[in-house]
C-alpha cells in the first residue's frame, strides 16, 4: 500500500516538473527518429523490396545465391544431432564419475572443464582460419558434405560432438552440484553455483551459435557474392590484426608511462603528443603520409632505401595505418587501468619472492586481462567501421565499409548495400555488447581499488633504457607521420621535385574553392558542436542524477550510436530520409540540406560526449544539487546554476571534441553531402583518390591547424575560466 502511494507520489512530482518532462520527450523523439529509425529502415530494406515484397533474397544474395536457407538448414541438421550426442556423452561421463572409482574416468573428468573452454576456442580459431582462407580446402570439403556426402556429414557431426562434449559435462556437473547444494541449503553457495551454471549455459549457447554461424559463413565463402565474401574476410582480418597490435602497443606505452622511470622532459612530451593525436587527427592524414613516406615515390622507400616498387596499398598498409591511428585510444585506456592497480598488490607478490617478470605474469597481466579484451574489442570495432583509411590506402583491398560505399554510389544496389550494412552492424553490435556488458563490468570489478600509495618506479637501467628507446622510436615515427603532411604541401612534386612552393596552398583557395570548403565545414561544425555538447550534458545529467521510466532507453540508444559505423548510419539516412520518413514525404525537406549534415555530426559525436559527461557528473555529490532543490530551485535552475558550472570544464572539452570530431568526420557525411556543400574532408578524400597529394596535403594541413587551434583555445579557456582553477586556488 505504502509503496503504491509513494510511487504515485513520485509520478506526481515527476509531472509537476514540466521542463524535465518535455526535455525527456523531445530527447526520446530525437533519438528514435535519428538513430533508431534509420537503422530500422536498413533492416526493412534488406528484407523488403517493392517488387517482391518480403524476401530473404538480399541476404541470400550476399551469403550465397538462393542457397542461404538451405545451408542454414543443413548446418542445423548437422549441429543438432551433434549437440544431442555431446549432451549424452557429457551426462554419461558425469554419471561415470559419481559411480565408478576407475582412475582413468576420474582423470578424464578432471581435464574436462578446461577442455570445455579450450576446444571450442580452438574450433573457433580453426573456423576463422577456414573463413579467411576463402575458397580453401576446408570450404571445398564442406561443400561436398553439403552436397550430400553422408559420410562427410557424419564426420562433421562427430567432430562437433567431440568439441561440445566437455562443455556439456561442465553443464551437467554444474546441475548435479546445484541439486546437492540445494539439499544442503546454503543460500550463498547456491547463488554462486547458480551464477556459474548460467555462465555455462550462456557459454555453450554461444559456442553452439558460433559453430552454426561459422558453417554458414564457410558455405557462403563458396557460394556467396564474391565482393561481399572477400570484403567480410578482409574486414575481419584487418580488424583482428589491428585490435591485437593496437592493444599491444597501447599496453607497452601505458606500462612504460606508469611503471618505468623515464622522467625526461622529452619523453613526457612525446607521450603527451601521442595521447593528444587521436583528438586532433583528421582521417586520411596517416594514410596520406604513409603513401608519401613508403609508397612508390615515398621518401623513405625510394630516396632513403632505393626501393622503387614498394606496395603500401592493401592489407599491411591498412593494418599499420589503423594501428597507428587507434593505439593511442588503447594507451589511454590502459593508463587509467594501470594507475588503478594498487601498487601494494604487486609489492606483496614481490615481497613473497616473485621476480619482476613473475609479478607481471601472475598479478598485473591477469588483472588487466578483461581490460585487454576491452581494448581489443574497442579497436576492433573502430577498425571494421573505419572508412577513410581503407578508402585511401586500401587500393583494391576492399573492406566492408568501402564495399558498402561503392555498392551504393557505384552499383546503385541499394538493397544489397543495406543487407551488407546490416551484417556490418550486427558484427559491431555484438562486439559492442560483449565489450560493454561483459568486459567493462569485469574490468570494473577487479580494478576498483584506488592506489594506496605512490608506485615505486622501475629504475633498473637494463629495463628502462631499452623500453624508453623503443617507445621513443615508435612515438617519433607517429609524430613523423603527422609532420610529413604539412611538408607534403610545401614541395612542388612529392618524390621528385623538392623545391619549396606555396603553389598548393594558393591553388586550394584560387582553383578549388578552398575558402568555401573551409567555410562550410567550419560553419556546420560550429553549429553542431554546442548542440552536441548541450545534448550530451543533458543526457548524462538525466542518466546520472534522475530516475524515470525511459532512462534505460535514452542511455542505451545514445551509447548504441557508438557501435554504429558511419557508413551504416549514412546509408540508413539515405534510405530513411531521401523520400521522407517511411516514404511519406515527412521531413523530406531536410534531406540534402545542411540540417541533415548537422544532425549526423551531432549523432556521431553524441556517444563520446555523453560518456565523458557521465563520468564528470558521477563525481559531483548528489547532496549539492539536493540542497539547491531544497532552497526552491526548479530542475532547469538547478541544472544551469549548480550542475553546469560544476562541470564547466567537461562541458568545454565536450564542446571542442564535438567540433573537432565534426570537422574531421567523413564516413557518414560522404554519403549524404550534396554539391551545394563542400566539406574539407570530402575534398581531401577526392584529391587523395585522384593522387593529387599536394592539394590533399594542403587541405589536411589547414584542417590540422584548425583542429589544433581549437584544442589550444580550449586549454586556454579552461585555464583562465575553468572551475578547476578556482577550486585549486581555494585549496
Amino acid at each position: 500500500m505504502s509503496q503504491k502511494q509513494s510511487a504515485s507520489l513520485d509520478r506526481k512530482k515527476f509531472f509537476a516538473d514540466p521542463v524535465m518532462v518535455s526535455t525527456i520527450i523531445l530527447l526520446i523523439v530525437f533519438l528514435a527518429v535519428f538513430i533508431l529509425y534509420p537503422l530500422a529502415i536498413l533492416l526493412v530494406d534488406s528484407i523488403y523490396s517493392n517488387k517482391t515484397g518480403i524476401t530473404a533474397q538480399f541476404f541470400s544474395g550476399i551469403f550465397g545465391e538462393g542457397a542461404f536457407a538451405t545451408s542454414l538448414w543443413k548446418a542445423l541438421l548437422i549441429s543438432v544431432p551433434a549437440l544431442l550426442l555431446s549432451i549424452l556423452g557429457g551426462s554419461a561421463l558425469a554419471r561415470a564419475e559419481k559411480s565408478s572409482q576407475n582412475g582413468t574416468v576420474q582423470s578424464l573428468c578432471r581435464i574436462m572443464p578446461p577442455l570445455g573452454l579450450i576446444l571450442p576456442l580452438l574450433a573457433a580459431a580453426a573456423y576463422t582460419l577456414a573463413v579467411f582462407d576463402n575458397r580453401g580446402s576446408v570450404a571445398v570439403f564442406l561443400q561436398q558434405a553439403f552436397n550430400g556426402g553422408a559420410g562427410a556429414c557424419l564426420l562433421i557431426a562427430l567432430v562437433q560432438a567431440v568439441i561440445l562434449t566437455p562443455l556439456c559435462y561442465r553443464l551437467i556437473d554444474g546441475v548435479t552440484r546445484l541439486s546437492v547444494t540445494a539439499a544442503r541449503d546454503a543460500a550463498e553457495e547456491k547463488a554462486l553455483q547458480h551464477k556459474q551454471l548460467m555462465r555455462n549455459v550462456i557459454l555453450s549457447l554461444v559456442v553452439f551459435g558460433v559453430n552454426l554461424l561459422m558453417i554458414v559463413f564457410l558455405y557462403a565463402s563458396v557460394h556467396g557474392k564474391y565482393s561481399f565474401i572477400v570484403a567480410i574476410s578482409n574486414t575481419l582480418k584487418v580488424g583482428f590484426l589491428v585490435g591485437i597490435l593496437s592493444a599491444g602497443v597501447g599496453l607497452l606505452f601505458a606500462y612504460v608511462e606508469v611503471y618505468v622511470k623515464v622522467r625526461t622532459r622529452f619523453m613526457s612530451g612525446l607521450f603527451k603528443v601521442v595521447s593528444m593525436l587521436p583528438v586532433v587527427s583528421p582521417p586520411f592524414v596517416l594514410s596520406l603520409s604513409m603513401i608519401m613516406l613508403f609508397g612508390k615515390a615515398g621518401i623513405i622507400t625510394r630516396h632513403l632505401l632505393g626501393i622503387y616498387d614498394n606496395d603500401v596499398y592493401g592489407f599491411w598498409g591498412i593494418a599499420i595505418v589503423q594501428t597507428m591511428t587507434f593505439f593511442p585510444v588503447c594507451y589511454m585506456m590502459f593508463r587509467g587501468l594501470l594507475k588503478n592497480i594498487d601498487p601494494s598488490m604487486e609489492e606483496a607478490a614481490r615481497d613473497m619472492g616473485a621476480s619482476r617478470m613473475k609479478v607481471f605474469t601472475t598479478v598485473t597481466l591477469p588483472l588487466l586481462l578483461p581490460g585487454i579484451g576491452n581494448a581489443f574489442l574497442v579497436t576492433f570495432i573502430e577498425s571494421i567501421a573505419d572508412f577513410a583509411n581503407p578508402m585511401i590506402i586500401g587500393g583494391s583491398y576492399d573492406t566492408l565499409a568501402t564495399t558498402i560505399y561503392l555498392q551504393i554510389t557505384g552499383a546503385y544496389d541499394k538493397n544489397g548495400a543495406c543487407a551488407m550494412a546490416v551484417v556490418l552492424l550486427a558484427i559491431t553490435m555484438l562486439m559492442f555488447a560483449v565489450q560493454k556488458y561483459v568486459l567493462e563490468r569485469k574490468t570494473a570489478a577487479t580494478l576498483t581499488g584506488k592506489a594506496s600509495r605512490m608506485r615505486m618506479l622501475i629504475e633498473d637501467k637494463s629495463v628502462t633504457i631499452p623500453l624508453a628507446i623503443l617507445c621513443s622510436l615508435m612515438a617519433l615515427f607517429v609524430v613523423l607521420m603527422y609532420v610529413c603532411v604539412p611538408f607534403g604541401a610545401m614541395f612542388k612534386t612529392w618524390g621528385r621535385d623538392f623545391t619549396l612552393t606555396t603553389k598548393w596552398f594558393e591553388q586550394v583557395f584560387t582553383k578549388y574553392k578552398g575558402l568555401k570548403a573551409f567555410q562550410d565545414s567550419f560553419v556546420l561544425s560550429i553549429i553542431s558542436a554546442p548542440i552536441t555538447a548541450l545534448l550530451s550534458m543533458i543526457i548524462s545529467y538525466l542518466v546520472v542524477k534522475r530516475k524515470f521510466k525511459a532512462k534505460g532507453f535514452i542511455e542505451l540508444v545514445s551509447m548504441l550510436a557508438m557501435a554504429v559505423p558511419g557508413t551504416v548510419l549514412g546509408i540508413g539516412y539515405i534510405r530513411g530520409f531521401a523520400g521522407g520518413m517511411f516514404h511519406t514525404g515527412f521531413l523530406q525537406g531536410i534531406y540534402g540540406t545542411g540540417v541533415i549534415l548537422v544532425i549526423v555530426f551531432v549523432v556521431r559525436s553524441l556517444p563520446t560526449g555523453t560518456r565523458s559527461g557521465i563520468s564528470a557528473l558521477r563525481q559531483i555529490d548528489k547532496s549539492i544539487e539536493e540542497s539547491a532543490y531544497d532552497m526552491g530551485a526548479g530542475s532547469l535552475k538547478v541544472f544551469t546554476s549548480v550542475t553546469l558550472p560544476l562541470i564547466k570544464d567537461s562541458f568545454l572539452s565536450g564542446l571542442v571534441t564535438a567540433f573537432v570530431r565534426s570537422i574531421t568526420a567523413i564516413s557518414a557525411i560522404i554519403l549524404l553531402v550534396t554539391p551545394s556543400y563542400l566539406l574539407i574532408t570530402v575534398q581531401i578524400n577526392e584529391f587523395a583518390e585522384k593522387g593529387s597529394y599536394g592539394i590533399a596535403c594542403a587541405f589536411a594541413t589547414i584542417l590540422i591547424a584548425i583542429t589544433y587551434g581549437a584544442v589550444l583555445l580550449m586549454n586556454l579557456v579552461i585555464r583562465f575560466f575553468g572551475t578547476s582553477r578556482k577550486t585549486k586556488e581555494v585549496e
Partner: protein
C-alpha cells in the same frame, strides 16, 4: 617432511645508521625522511614503529622489506647485510595496509602464492595452507573470492599469506587501519596471539598508540625521521623523555615550574599554585626550569590536596568523570574513574588536586 615441520628460526634485524633522503615534490628540496636510525631488534620479539604521519616509520619498514633502499647505512637480517638484495630475495613477508589481496585469485590461491613461487610440492602446499588457514580461523573459506570476504576476513587472509612462507621477519604496515574500532581490538589480540604462538619476529608500523601498547614488546617512537624514544610500553608511557613523547602516548598534563631540593629520590617542584612532589630518575639542578608530566588518571581531585584549582568543565563520560581544572595558568585534564562512588564537582567549584610522586615524571630538558 620432518625438516619442513620444524619451526624456522626467527631472525633479528639490525639497522646501522640508516638514512633515507627524499625530494620535496613542491619545493624540490632534499630532506631526510629517515635520519641516522640505528636499531637492534631481537629475534622473536614484537617491535612497533610508532609515530605521527610523515615521521618515517613506514619508510623504515619499506627499507627493511626492500621497496626502498637506504641512502646511508646498512640493514642486517639475521646477521647478513641485505642492502643489495631485491625484495623478492629477502626473507621478509609483509602485511599491507590495503591487504593487497589478489582479486583474481581465491583465498587458497592467494595464500598459496608464495609457496608456489618457492616450488613447494603440491601436497605440502595444501597441507601448509590448510594449517595456516586454521590458525587464522578461516577454514572452509578456501574457495571464496576475496571480494566475498568481510574486512576482518580479508585481513586474516593477508596475514595467512604472509605467515605461510615462514619468513624470518614479519612486517606489518598499519594493517588494522581499515577496520572498525571493535574489530581492530579483536584483530590485534589475534596478531599478538599468532606471533607468540609461532615465536616469529614481527615489526609493526602504526600511528595508533593504544594499538602499539597492546601488542608490543618494544615500542620505537619516531618523529621527523629520527627515533624519539624506544623502550617497553610501560617505560614509554610512564617515563617519556620529552614533551613530544609524553603527549603522543596518551593524554598528558604538563605543569611548568622550578626544581627545588631533591632527597630520597623525590624532587620538590615549585609551581605557581604551590609545591608538587615528583619521583626523579636523576637529580635536577636546583632552580632549573622543569616540567612535571602527569597522566589524567593519576590525578586525584578532592576537597583537600596539594594544589588549589577551579573546575572549568565537568562531564560524565560513563566509565569516568572528565574534569578540566585551572591550576594557576595551566589547564589540567583529569579522568576520575568510577564516578558513581565519588562526589562529583560542578563547574566553578574551588577544589584541590594531588598525585602520588611515583605516578608523575620530571622533565628538566624542556624544548622551547
Amino acid at each position: 617432511m620432518s625438516e619442513t615441520q620444524k619451526v624456522k628460526q626467527p631472525k633479528g634485524v639490525v639497522l646501522d645508521h640508516i638514512s633515507k633522503i627524499y625530494q620535496d615534490p613542491k619545493t624540490g628540496k632534499n630532506f631526510y625522511a629517515v635520519h641516522d636510525v640505528s636499531l637492534e631488534m631481537a629475534p622473536g620479539s614484537f617491535i612497533t614503529l610508532l609515530g605521527p604521519s610523515g615521521c618515517g616509520k613506514t619508510t623504515t619498514l619499506r627499507m627493511i622489506a626492500g621497496f626502498e633502499s637506504p641512502d646511508e647505512g646498512e640493514i642486517y637480517l639475521g646477521g647478513e647485510p641485505i642492502n643489495a638484495l631485491t625484495p623478492n630475495k629477502r626473507d621478509t613477508a609483509m602485511v599491507f595496509q590495503s591487504y593487497a589481496l589478489f582479486p583474481h585469485y581465491n583465498v587458497f590461491d592467494n595464500v598459496a602464492y608464495g609457496l608456489r613461487l618457492r616450488k613447494v610440492p603440491k601436497p605440502e602446499i595444501e597441507r601448509r595452507v590448510k594449517n595456516i588457514l586454521e590458525l587464522v580461523e578461516l577454514s572452509g573459506m578456501e574457495q571464496r573470492m576475496t571480494n566475498q570476504l568481510s574486512g576482518g576476513q580479508q585481513q586474516r587472509v593477508a596475514l595467512a599469506r604472509a605467515l605461510v612462507v615462514e619468513p624470518g621477519v614479519l612486517l606489518f604496515d598499519e594493517p588494522l587501519s581499515n577496520l572498525d574500532a571493535k574489530l581492530r581490538v579483536q584483530m590485534r589480540t589475534e596478531i599478538r596471539r599468532i606471533q607468540q604462538q609461532l615465536g616469529i619476529t614481527a615489526i609493526y608500523v602504526t600511528h595508533d598508540q593504544s594499538e602499539a601498547m597492546a601488542i608490543s614488546d618494544q615500542i620505537i617512537l619516531m618523529r621527523k625521521g629520527v627515533i624519539a624514544q624506544m623502550g617497553s610500553p610501560l617505560d614509554i608511557y610512564y617515563h617519556p623523555n620529552s614533551e613530544f613523547v609524553a603527549d603522543f602516548i596518551g593524554e598528558c598534563n604538563f605543569l611548568k615550574g622550578f626544581a627545588k631540593k631533591t632527597w630520597e629520590g623525590i624532587t620538590e617542584v615549585e609551581l605557581d599554585a604551590g609545591i608538587a612532589r615528583v619521583k626523579a630518575d636523576h637529580i635536577p639542578d636546583e632552580g632549573a626550569r622543569c616540567e612535571i608530566v602527569v597522566r589524567p588518571e593519576a590525578i586525584v581531585i578532592g576537597r583537600t590536596g596539594d594544589l588549589p584549582c577551579t573546575v572549568e568543565l565537568s562531564c560524565f563520560m560513563g566509565s569516568y568523570q572528565n574534569y578540566h581544572v585551572r591550576v594557576g595558568d595551566t589547564l589540567v585534564k583529569i579522568t576520575d574513574n568510577c564516578p558513581i562512588n565519588k562526589e562529583i564537582f560542578q563547574v566553578g567549584e574551588q577544589v584541590f588536586i594531588s598525585f602520588a610522586p611515583e605516578c608523575a615524571h620530571l622533565l628538566d630538558q624542556i624544548e622551547e
